[in-house]
Amino acid sequence: MPVFLRFSRGVDALNEWIAGRVIWLVLLVTLISAGNAIVRKVFNTSSNSLLEIQWYLFSAIFLLCAGYALLRNAHVRIDLITSRLGARGTAWVDILGTLFFLLPAAAMIAWFSWGVFVEAWQSGEVSANQGGLIFWPARLLVPVGFGLLILQGLSELIKRVGFLTGHLAAPVTQVDGPSEEEALAEEIRRTRKLDANEGSAEGGAQ
């Protein structure tokens, strides 16, 4: 088991590290798209490569974060039944789901998309749009993203088994720090208090 747990921790760290870099693409693609829109309007020019790079980056975000989203347990579930099963029951659902749902489907997609990538790499496939980008980097994102997802699936599998066998205290890696919503609430409370202390115009009735 210790070997497996080390592997699991390694995968978690890898996906965490990758996501920490990839999230900056959100800012990058926003600025590119806004800049492109303004340039298109003001100077009446545009280029297909600027349009295409946007969905390259968009794809990079969700494919390279696929493992990370699984690590963070971000995928929506219909927890009508699981919410009544308790932690051990949910761990069993996750084990079965990972083994029979996630891993086979992800492996299949990774396998087929790898073939498509190799083809694009060898043929030097380029976008049909004039001035468009070369396709293989985007084609490569699919097998890489699903590869990361498979790795994370194995890690989650190990963690659930570790939890059921008593090697781990919690089945899901706990997120350190507050959630987005908690952070927002905390932020508003903090600034409110500051306002009140400063005795600014908002004080009084608030």
Binding site: V26, V93, F101, I109, E181, T191, E202, G203
Partner: protein, 576 residues
């Protein structure tokens, strides 16, 4: 056995999907697995070609190069940045003070601010949390009924779902194969009518149960002049002057000139919604210049209330123009509008020094996480539909629903009851990725306008935020509400607004023109043409001349605009 399987594979697959989803494993992977399992069964039974799964990379490629879905991270990012910028708090403070001393005033302020925030972003959580922390304590302090107070906050927060720009409309546009711009235009009037219905309900409450929504004492207004005057007259004068200026401006030739410059084309007639957008801009600009001059030069002509009111309204109005204005004017595609809105929100948050590196990281992380799980449901549903369509599952569903008693209306009633019930258990992403694609072909076959259908379902799905006990808006409100409010208060408070939602669904069915009034305009076709030309045309410089040719024809007759929609369908079809 095998004969039974062969004959009934579509219903079996549908049943298996429901069971697999109910297991509680993430929806994205359960859907994909269901597609894979039944795909293998289908290949084994010779119902499907052995090469079926080779189409999978193509499906994923279609999701990746999908310009519509690109709007999701933009609008999410914009909402997350905006919620940290302090804009919501400023609005709630000032509007609350302005309306507070009339009966039900705080509730009106919450609805007004809710609609305002909804028009800048599509994030429900942020509105509910800000209102729950800022307005709810004041409402309780001055004796508002707990249920009314929590209900009006939860419901106003969910307005972000239906008033564009909203995420659900983007997903719906993708699933229905319509343009996001059309969905936004179609949803705009219903969103406003719904806001009006909320307001009417509160007015009703102040008449029947005045104690539930008392007026605040005049002392509650802290924004006032040194001599104690509230300065309302000054505010009215400022608003009147700005409106007069805007109306005068609209009567000149300038609006047409502006439209011509923006479209790089001769525009002689400015459509009503374009006129409203431009008029609002002039109105806001005049008010802003007056207030800024008054504040910079210490003229003392305006009261503090008038000045503050102008200053808190300008940022959201500017963002609304940047996003919705440009989309409605046909200057930007919804995706571009989202990116410009997000950049504008970033700029505003930086200018107010309200954005730290940690907050930026958190906003980007949340955006990446949400984008990932949303796109993965889409991928899962594409893998599912690859097999489901392969075994003619869509025909089975169609058969089932087309023969519904009551025809057209029977179908609509069935669909809305279904969505309403499912909304207790599923959120709107699940509903729009799993249920909507099954319904859309049937609706189209029955001759139902898909934009209208999407807006209708969007209004219905809004209830998924308000249904006790799982509704997210209720959940967020609970997390920030004072202890004095019991969870049952929040649940009961939501009930009248769920009923209003049902009334709204009926209204949209009875009066389809609520949705269509925003459509059937020249520039509706223009937005789409712009979108397509930039993608397909290698020489964007030629776009304007093409538009000049197509625009007048589209204005004359509805069929021309339908043809435009068909083009979109084709382009969407090929993208998928």
């Amino acid at each position: 056995m095998i004969a039974f399987l062969t004959a009934n594979i579509a219903p079996l697959m549908f049943g298996a999907m429901v069971l697999l989803l109910l297991l509680g494993y993430p929806v994205a992977f359960s859907l994909a697995a269901c597609g894979v399992i039944f795909g293998l069964v289908g290949i084994e039974l010779n119902l499907l070609p052995a090469t079926l799964f080779q189409a999978m990379p193509d499906r994923i490629w279609g999701v990746m190069s999908n310009d519509t879905m690109l709007a999701i991270p933009f609008f999410t990012f914009m909402g997350l940045i905006l919620e940290r910028s302090g804009m919501a708090e400023d609005l709630l403070d000032t509007i609350g003070q302005l309306f507070g001393p009339i009966r039900g005033g705080l509730a009106f302020a919450v609805i007004f601010v809710g609609a305002m925030l909804a028009a800048t972003t599509g994030v429900v959580a942020a509105s509910v949390i800000s209102m729950g922390l800022i307005s709810l304590p004041i409402m309780l302090r001055y004796g508002y009924d707990k249920r009314l107070a929590s209900g009006v906050i939860a419901a106003s927060g969910t307005l972000a779902q239906i008033i564009p720009p909203s995420l659900v409309l983007i997903v719906m546009a993708d699933q229905l194969g319509r343009s996001v711009g059309d969905m936004y235009k179609g949803a705009f009037v219903p969103g406003l009518v719904l806001t009006g219905l909320y307001t009417l309900y509160v007015i009703g409450v102040t008449i029947v149960r005045p104690k539930w929504a008392p007026a605040l004492p005049a002392e509650a207004r802290t924004i006032r002049e040194d001599n104690g005057d509230v300065g309302l007259r000054s505010l009215f004068v400022l608003v009147a002057v700005a409106v007069a200026a805007a109306l005068a401006f609209m009567n000149t030739a300038l609006p047409a000139a502006i439209m011509s410059a923006m479209r790089r084309d001769v525009v002689e007639h400015v459509a009503l919604d374009e006129a409203i957008v431009i008029g609002m801009c002039v109105w806001a600009l005049v008010a802003y210049v007056c207030a800024q001059a008054n504040s910079s030069f210490k003229l003392g002509l305006l009261s503090r209330m008038a000045e503050r009111f102008t200053f808190v309204l300008i940022p959201p109005l500017a963002l609304i123009f940047l996003v919705l204005g440009t989309i409605f004017l046909g200057v930007a595609t919804p995706t571009e509008g989202g990116a410009m809105g997000a950049s504008g929100a970033l700029f505003m948050a930086l200018a107010r020094k309200r954005l730290s590196l940690a907050q930026l990281r958190q906003a980007m992380e949340s955006t990446a996480r949400l984008t990932t799980f949303v796109v993965f449901i889409l991928i899962g549903s594409r893998v599912f539909s690859l097999t489901f369509y392969g075994v003619d599952g869509h025909l089975w569903v169609e058969h089932l629903l087309v023969n519904m008693p009551g025809g057209h209306l029977g179908f609509l009633i069935f669909v809305n009851v279904l969505i309403f019930v499912l909304a207790f258990f599923l959120d709107f992403f699940e509903l729009s990725f799993i249920v909507v694609p099954l319904l859309a072909p049937v609706a189209e076959k029955l001759g139902i306008d898909l934009v209208w259908f999407g807006v209708l379902l969007g209004i219905n799905m809004q209830t998924s935020f308000m249904h006790p006990p799982f509704g997210f808006a209720l959940f967020y409100l609970r997390s920030v509400a004072p202890r004095a409010i019991r969870t049952t208060d929040i649940y009961w408070g939501a009930v009248p607004f769920v009923l209003i939602q049902i009334i709204m669904v009926c209204l949209v069915i009875a009066f389809p023109q609520l949705v269509n009034v925003g459509l059937d305009k020249t520039q509706e076709v223009d937005v789409d043409k712009v979108e397509i030309n930039i993608q397909d045309d290698s020489q964007p410089a030629e776009v304007p001349s093409e538009l000049a040719g197509s625009a007048p024809a589209a204005e004359e007759s509805a069929p021309a605009s339908d043809a435009g929609n068909d083009d979109i369908m084709k382009s969407f079809g090929s993208a998928k």
